[in-house]
Symmetry: C2
C-alpha cells in the first residue's frame, strides 16, 4: 500500500470526550471516527487492525473444528420471547418495530437464534458435537457508552456456541475452546491471563475470562505469581485464616465514638489497626406470595473485617441469600437494631436477624463493632462470650494482595485487566427454555448441552493499545498492526536515488508477503515520523540521501530508543529478524 492511495488522517489533539488512552490514540491515529454516542466508523487504518484480529480468530476457530455461519443483525422478537429475554433484558436490548408493527431486536448476542438453528438442523446425536460461530455486528444500547471501542454500543463480536449430547462431551467441547482461545490470544502478541470466572447458577468451574493485562483495566485480576492460579475478583476465593481463634484477652467495653460512623474513623480515634474493626452490612430477603406481593421479609447481618470489601457474587451464594437479596431499608434497620446506620453491630438487637460472619471475622478475638446506639462502639467483643457463635460462616469478601492463594502455591497478587474473551459452559439453560432437543443414541429426545464463547473483536484493539502505548502513540504487536512495516523515504521528490531505493525495498517487501506501507506523501521527516509513531507501526525503515550514499538505511522498531544503520543489502534480512510474524 502506498500512503497517498490510503486514507491517513491523524489529529494533533484527541477530542474532549476521549477519556482513556486507547480512545484518544485511536481517534488521533485516525483509526475510528465517532458517528454517534458509542457508534463509530471503522476507518481504513482501524479496519485493517480489526480484519487482522478477525483473521486470527477465524483461523483458530476453524482449526478447532468450529463452523462459521452468520445470523441476522435484526432478529424477530418471537425467539427472544421464548426464553423470556425480550421482556427480562433491560433497555440495553435495542427494540424495533417494522413497518407492519412487528417486534424485532438488534442482536446483542445470539443464543436464541443459534438454539433455534440447532433444534431444526441437529436432529441426531450423530451430528454432535457441533460448534457454530459467527463474526458479526452486535448492538447494546448502553446507558452511558464511553471509552471509544472499549464500551461502545455497536461492536463486532465473535460468538460461538457448542452443542453436545451430554455433560462429559460438553466439557470436552469447552476445553477445546479454552485451548483455542489460548492459541488466539498467544497469536495476538498481548500479555493476557485466562482467569477463572463465576459460572453463575450452573455451578462448576467452566467459566474463564480472557483478560488483557493493562493498568487501566476495569477488572481486578487475582493471580498467584508462583502458579497458574488466576481468577477474577468475583471468583477468587479467600481461604479461611490458618490457626485457631485466639482466646479473649479484653473485656467488652461500650466506648463513646461521637460522630465516628466508619470503621476507619473509629480505628483512628481508638488508635488501633483497621483490621481490629468489624463492619456490619444489613441485607434483606423477601418471600414472594402467589400474587407477586412480598409476604415476609428477613433481615440479615453480614459481618466483615473493617478493611475488607463485600463480594456480591459470593454473598449471592450463601444459603438463604441465594434466593436474591437487597440492601435493607433504613426503616428495617431501625426496627431491628434500634439504631440508625453507622453504629450497628450484632449485640443488643431489638429484633432477631440472621447473622453471617465472614471466615476472617469468625476467628477474630477482641474485635470492635457498632453498639447499636448512636456515637457508641463496642471494643473487646468476643464470639461465644459476648454473643453466640456465628450461625453461618462464609467467604463474603474480595481477596487482597498478600492473601494465601487457593492452590496453596503462595500469596496472591492483583493486577488489572480488560476482558476481551469469555468461555462459558451454559448447560441446558437455553435448550430447555426453547425445547431444543436431538434424538439420543437410545432413541429418546434429549436437551442439548451448550457452551458459549465470545471474543470482543473491536474491543481487542482498544485493549491492545491500553497495554501497548507510550507518550508518542500506539505500539502494535506485529500480528495486529495496521501495517507491519513502514518505509519512510526522506526527500523522495528531490532524490531519484531515495525514490528508487524506497520503491525497490517496498517492492521486495510486498514480494516477500510483508504488509508494508510506503509513505509517498512527501511529508517532512518530523511530521512523517510523528504520524507513524502515533499510528504505531512496529517496524520503520528510513531512507535518506546521506545514508544511502554510504549504502545504508535506518531501521527502528517502535520500541527502540534510536535507529540502527543497516546496509541496504541486509535490510530485508534485518527486518525479518526483528519481525514477529
Amino acid at each position: 500500500m502506498k500512503a497517498t492511495q490510503f486514507l491517513i488522517s491523524t489529529l494533533k489533539e484527541a477530542p474532549a470526550d476521549a477519556e482513556v488512552v486507547s480512545h484518544q490514540l485511536m481517534m488521533r491515529a485516525g483509526m475510528i471516527r465517532k458517528l454517534g454516542a458509542g457508534i463509530y466508523n471503522y476507518m481504513p487504518m482501524g479496519l485493517r487492525v480489526i480484519r487482522k484480529v478477525e483473521a486470527i480468530v477465524r483461523e483458530e476457530m476453524n482449526r478447532a473444528g468450529a463452523v462459521e455461519l452468520t445470523m441476522p443483525v435484526v432478529q424477530p422478537a418471537e425467539l427472544w420471547q421464548e426464553t423470556g429475554r425480550f421482556e427480562k433484558m433491560g433497555p440495553e436490548l435495542l427494540r424495533i418495530q417494522d413497518r407492519h408493527g412487528r417486534d424485532f431486536i438488534v442482536q446483542p448476542t445470539s443464543e436464541e437464534v443459534i438454539t433455534d438453528i440447532a433444534r431444526q438442523e441437529l436432529r441426531s446425536y450423530k451430528q454432535l458435537p457441533k460448534n457454530l460461530y459467527q463474526i458479526q455486528t452486535k448492538f447494546r444500547d448502553e446507558r452511558r457508552p464511553r471509552f471509544g471501542l472499549m464500551r461502545g454500543r455497536e461492536f463486532i463480536m465473535k460468538d460461538a456456541y457448542s452443542f453436545d449430547r451430554d455433560q462429559v462431551s460438553a466439557k470436552a467441547s469447552y476445553q477445546v475452546m479454552a485451548q483455542a482461545y489460548r492459541r488466539i490470544f498467544d497469536r495476538f502478541g498481548l500479555r493476557y491471563r485466562a482467569v477463572a470466572a463465576d459460572s453463575g447458577a450452573i455451578g462448576g468451574d467452566l467459566s474463564e475470562e480472557f483478560q488483557v493485562i493493562a493498568s487501566t483495566g476495569e477488572d481486578a485480576i487475582v493471580y498467584c505469581p508462583n502458579s497458574d492460579y488466576a481468577a477474577n475478583m468475583e471468583k477468587a476465593e479467600a481461604l479461611p485464616p490458618q490457626g485457631p481463634r485466639p482466646a479473649p484477652a479484653e473485656a467488652l467495653v461500650r466506648t463513646p465514638t461521637p460522630g465516628k460512623s466508619t470503621c476507619a474513623d473509629v480505628a483512628a480515634l481508638l488508635g488501633v489497626p483497621l483490621e481490629r474493626t468489624v463492619k456490619s452490612l444489613v441485607l434483606a430477603t423477601d418471600e414472594i406470595g402467589e400474587n407477586g406481593d412480598v409476604v415476609r421479609s428477613q433481615v440479615w447481618l453480614l459481618l466483615l473485617r473493617g478493611d475488607h470489601d463485600m463480594n456480591e457474587i459470593k454473598v449471592s451464594k450463601v444459603p438463604g441469600l441465594n434466593v436474591g437479596f437487597r440492601f435493607a431499608t433504613v426503616a428495617e434497620i431501625e426496627d431491628h437494631f434500634g439504631c440508625k446506620p453507622g453504629y450497628l453491630g450484632p449485640i443488643g438487637l431489638k429484633k432477631p436477624v440472621r447473622i453471617v460472619a465472614d471466615r476472617e471475622v469468625a476467628v477474630m478475638a477482641d474485635w470492635i463493632c457498632g453498639g447499636n446506639e448512636v456515637d457508641v462502639h463496642l471494643t473487646g467483643v468476643n464470639w461465644g462470650r459476648d454473643l453466640p457463635e456465628p450461625e453461618l460462616v462464609a467467604d463474603l469478601r474480595n481477596v487482597l494482595a498478600g492473601d494465601r492463594s487457593p492452590d496453596g502455591a503462595g500469596e496472591l497478587a492483583i493486577e488489572r485487566g480488560i476482558e476481551v474473551g469469555h468461555v462459558f459452559y451454559l448447560g441446558t439453560k437455553y435448550s430447555k427454555a426453547m425445547n431444543a432437543t436431538f434424538l439420543g443414541e437410545d432413541g429418546k429426545p434429549a436437551f442439548f448441552e451448550m457452551g458459549c464463547y465470545g471474543i470482543g473483536v473491536t474491543r481487542l484493539p482498544a485493549a491492545a493499545i491500553e497495554q501497548n502505548h507510550d507518550e508518542r502513540g500506539i505500539i502494535w504487536p506485529d500480528a495486529i498492526a495496521p501495517f507491519t512495516v513502514v518505509v519512510c523515504p526522506i526527500g523522495m521528490d528531490r532524490s531519484a536515488d531515495v525514490k528508487a531505493a524506497a520503491e525497490t525495498l517496498y517492492g521486495d517487501l510486498l514480494a516477500a508477503g510483508v504488509d508494508v506501507i510506503l509513505d509517498d506523501r512527501g511529508e517532512r521527516p518530523g511530521a512523517m515520523f510523528a504520524d507513524w509513531e502515533l499510528i504505531g507501526v512496529p517496524h520503520r525503515v528510513t531512507i535518506g540521501d546521506k545514508n544511502l550514499k554510504d549504502g545504508l538505511v535506518e531501521y527502528q522498531h517502535r520500541r527502540d530508543a534510536a535507529a540502527t544503520k543497516v546496509a541496504v543489502a541486509d535490510i530485508l534480512a534485518h527486518l525479518k529478524g526483528r519481525m514477529a510474524v
Copy 2:
C-alpha cells in the same frame, strides 16, 4: 473440510413460500434458513459462497485503488435529516429510537455517512480522488419481501463512493469502477451484461447496471447481438421510424365499436393489425403555489401505437412533463374529452389539452383512435388533415425486440436479467445537500463530485443459481462454489483401500490449495450424489472398490452427463484441467 465436521443439511422439499428456483434450491441445499420475513441465517454452506463473492469484490476494489472502511449498521438520524431522506424515504427505511428516545435508522445504504466522513477527512484537492467502500449488512424494510436472498430485508451489500475535485476527474473515477466491475463479474464466472441505465435528473450516460442473465430475471435487458449496445428497458432508445410518413389513403370515418374499449378489441373487431391503432394516455401536471396548494393543472394526451407500452422514465423527460406528472382523474378526462376513458382520442376535444405523439405515431397514416364518444372509434385518421401536426414528438415507449439498435448495428434483442451491480455518477447531489467541500487548488472551497457503486453480495448467489441450475439442483461456477471439489468415497467404512485413496486425494488437493470437501458421512451413493448435485459442487471424484482395483477413480463435472474413468495417478492433473480457478 470433512463433511462430518461441517454442517450439511439438505431438504427433499422446498418450503411452500419459496416461489423462485434460487430460493427453493438455497433452502433445499441448506445454504440459508429463514428467520423471519426477508431475514435469513446464512448457513455454513451458503456463507462459503458469500465469502467467496466478498473476496473477489474486495480484491478487485483494492486493485482499483479503493480503500475499505466500515460504517455502522445503526446510524443517527441527524445526517439523514440533513439530506431530507429521513423524512422523504418511505417505510422501507427502518427507523429506531434508542433508550433516550433519539432517532436512528438501520442503514439501507450510506451516502450520508460517507459524505460526512469526506467533509471531515478530505480537506484538500491533494487528497483526491478517493474511493471509499464497505462490505456491510444493510436493511430495507420491503413491504413484501420474497424470493429468498433476491429481495430480502437484511442483506449484505458492497457500497463504494468516489470523491473527486471536478466532473472530468469524477468521470474518470466512474470509468475505473465500471472497468473494475467488469473484472469482478468476469471472475464470478457468470453470463452478465453491463447495461446503460437511466441516470435520472443528473443527465449524461454515467449509469450502468450489471445484470446477470437469467430467464427468470425481473428486468428486461435490451441489447444488440451484433454490437456492444446494451441498456435496460427504461433507458433503451426507440429510434424514429425510417422514411417519411405515408400519404393519407383513407377517409376519416366514425365507426361504431360497441363495448370495445381497448386497442386489441377494436383491432379484432375491425379486422386490422394492432399496429394500425393508436392509444390515448391522459396525464396531468400540477402547478404548485407558494402555500403548497395546486394553483393550476394541465392535462396532457400521449399518443402511442396500440401495441406499444409507455415508458415512464422517457415520459418524465418530456419538456413540460419533467416537472413531475400523474395520471389524470376521471373528472379531468370527462371535463376535457367529454367522454369516459376507453374511447378517447385527439379529435373533437371539449377543452384543449397538450398532445405528445410518440415518434412512431407521428409518422403513421390512416390510423385508428377513440372518437371521444362511448362505443365509437375513428378510422382513417391522418395528421395535418384531420388534426394539426403534433405539438410535441418524443420517444415515449419501451422498445420491442426487432427494433433498430440505437447504434445502427442491427436489430435489438431482449433478454431478462437480475440486477446485481450498479455504477452511478452522483454529481454534487449529496455534497451540496450536506455542504461537503474541500479546498481546491485555487484555495476556494468546492463541492465534491461523487459517484456511488453497489454490488448485492448476498443477491449474487441467488442470481447465479437462477442462471445455473437443472432439475437436480445448483451448478456453481468454480469461483463462487461453496467447495470446488467433492471427494465421494463409496463404502469408506468397509474398504480400507477406498478410505486410503480418498484420504490421499483429499490431502493432495488440500496441499494443492484446492477447496475440497471429503464426504466422510458414510451415506449411500445415491443419497450422497443427490446431496452434492443439489448443493452444486462443480467437480466430483468418486472412489469405489471396483474401479480402484483397476487403478481408476471416476470424475464427473456437475454439467457432465456421465462420469469419466481416470487413472488414480492422473486424477489431480485431470481435475486441474477441468477447474476454472
